[in-house]
Symmetry: C2
Subunit: 113 residues, 2 copies
């Protein structure tokens, strides 16, 4: 599982962590329902996650399209906007769980968060 | 849901976000299985999460005991230690989901992460 955070939005560490956690819970639930074999393999291997970053929203949108074209689950997180950003702001995109060989062509070149 | 991160361990933002996400997934799964009513209420209200911090492990252990004594689910996250910390290092503690009125006496005075 990979979560890509939109770097142009300035958030506190705690806020970023919560956004990434939202994405992870959404993806885990969807995978458990839609792809139970992939989900159980991911859980048994320690529910691996990695957090990456891109600068701009249009890059995140391109990553979303590329992942879905490969059949990888994606989940957008929108912030409720109660504190640091405007309501409905898309803060990050989660992808997977999926094999490294499927994720690497899409996110393998992005910097670590 | 509250995730309390051990501040004395210095990790990158991305690593902290992943630890918080591990706790959130563990708690969401346990709640769905053990406390479905609490879980569904939490999901319907936007799966609220907050990330807090304490300085030392013994404070986290005290919080864990206090939460469990009140019947609140808790989940420790241990880092696999592949990158930034020693294997098995406990990095954070997740609590909930639970009502604010149950969590506040335990974590209400802690600083935001």
């Amino acid at each position: 599982m990979v979560v890509v955070v939109r770097g142009e939005i300035r958030l506190t560490t705690g806020k970023i962590a919560v956004q990434v956690a939202h994405a992870a819970v959404l993806l885990a639930e969807r995978a458990a329902a839609q792809e139970p074999r992939v989900y159980h393999e991911w859980r048994q291997q320690g529910q691996k996650k990695i957090a990456l970053t891109v600068e701009r929203l249009d890059e995140l949108e391109r990553i979303d399209r590329a992942a879905r074209a490969r059949g990888i689950l994606t989940a957008w997180v929108e912030d409720a906007g109660l504190t640091e950003v405007a309501p409905g702001t898309r803060t990050c995109l989660g992808l997977g769980p999926a094999r490294n060989s499927d994720l690497d062509p899409i996110t393998g070149s992005l910097p670590l968060l």
